[in-house]
Symmetry: C2
Subunit: 291 residues, 2 copies
């Protein structure tokens, strides 16, 4: 089988010795630009619909982003006792924001994305993710998320969602202890941070490092969620939660079951299931417990 | 990125407009043969170790088969009240058999694989999966699984595991109502069948058809499990259970927690989590409830 560059978009993954390819549709490459921060491309694929690629890495497809976006938003929001003020770092495609704003009790959702072009291109090529952008509770800041959190008033957020690219390039600082310390300060009591933490199969070092850095920053509970995400390397992904005086393994189950909005992947049983830690991950993460 | 045939093995997936590639290691193609049933190839890959491919479709890799094999064996065995007699249809690589024989109370595990060469090649290239092949409780029959079940004495098995290739070619009959009717007869009271049921993202028609056919055959409960499987199309996979007077959503949780053997993915929490039905699948599967 020959996967040529004219008819396929391919993302190789060095860590896994693997590659994932999507066959292009008639529109092929719909757009490409170099922003001050990164190179963004939009492809037309067949089954997966529009595809956003940043610096060669798949960010999202129209078809399967529901998995990631629902899992970045709802578990954290249904774990917090009463989330009103949500900060999204990154998340320029607005899919996580849309899910956050499905919660009627959220009063403010601030999105701090460094690259405004991600959001403008999402509005153009993924309008279905941007349906909540005009919600009066949404505020957009196109600036550096690390500095935003440094400068945030103490206790000013209930939930911080770190919806970033991989821990290389501009997002690197978002995976480090000083950032988590600032997040801890910016969160009120009972506050929660949730961050995408890569593949449980390929990136165990990243997940382990995140646990260590979040605990090192002073979060008293850290727990990783597992979920499928076909367009990301290995097709299996994770998000890691850290809490400020919160039991991350219990959540507002009845509220999740009675949620007044539609979801495709998330429900109360999926939430509980995503909390299950496979033994190989439990062994990995407990091996650092003393350190 | 150029994925050439000399340095990569690629499996395209028509349904998803996607392709998954693994970079070959120094051994490249270790073996290839045409058997009376199918074409079997073994590749040396980097991260994923040895890879078995049948008729161009990836069957398993050394690295990630633990996900599939554990989920094909343990949920069914910990749902049955007291499984003693297990039948495996297909499963020639012996990975499922190995998991089944980890259960000390299993007295007999019969494996009916149509193509003996699959097992012989597994012994050679995946010896770690074949460590239980000499167990006196294991019996191998290299013959047609459909006929085996037709001729089985009524009530002769507690659990039937259908660990087959995709529903095209020799395995097609394993996805049809007459086969399930024979399985129902061959199972004792409280018996369970479990079958791999493809990707929840790509193959909803197959999962829906399996539910319909199992219910049509007379199983009173049918339930699908979800789990990651990186080398299969979309990286997200499923297995569907059907029961003969069994609540498939409850299981011997304490026994699963106290299991006297090592697992990498399966535990009692992962089992419960795999039972969670995402809303999009619930809507799909309930839409046929009246039919």
């Amino acid at each position: 089988m020959h996967i040529d560059q004219d008819h396929w978009f391919t993302e190789p993954c060095e860590e896994g010795g693997s590659a994932f390819s999507l066959r292009l549709g008639p529109g092929r490459k719909l757009h490409e630009e170099q922003t001050p921060y990164q190179r963004i491309a939009i492809y037309d694929t067949g089954y997966y619909g529009n595809l956003m690629v940043i610096d060669g890495f798949i960010m999202l497809s129209a078809r399967d982003n529901f998995l990631y976006h629902e899992m970045m938003a709802h578990p954290a929001l249904f774990t917090h006792a009463a989330p009103r003020r949500v900060l999204i770092i990154g998340g320029g495609d607005c899919g996580t924001l849309r899910e956050v704003l499905k919660h009627p009790d959220v009063e403010l959702a601030e999105q701090v994305e460094i690259d405004e072009r991600v959001t403008r291109l999402a509005e153009q090529y993924f309008p279905e993710l941007c349906t909540a952008n005009d919600d009066p509770r949404a505020r957009f800041h196109f600036t550096d998320g690390i500095r935003w959190v440094q400068e945030a008033a103490a206790g000013s957020y209930d939930v911080i969602i770190v919806d970033s690219t991989d821990p290389i390039g501009p997002a690197e600082g978002l995976f480090q202890e000083p950032f988590y310390r600032d997040c801890l300060r910016a969160l009120g009591p009972g506050g929660i941070i949730v961050q995408q933490s890569e593949s449980p199969l390929y990136h165990q070092d990243i997940i382990q490092g995140m646990h260590r850095a979040m605990a090192g920053a002073g979060f008293d509970t850290v727990h990783t969620l597992y979920f499928p995400q076909p367009v990301y390397p290995s097709g299996w992904w994770s998000a890691t939660l850290a809490g400020k005086g919160v039991d991350l393994c219990s959540f507002r189950r009845e509220d999740a079951a009675a949620r007044p909005f539609e979801t495709f992947y998330y429900n109360e049983d999926v939430h509980a299931g995503a909390l299950a830690t496979p033994p190989f991950m439990a062994r990995l993460l407990s091996s650092q417990a003393g350190g």
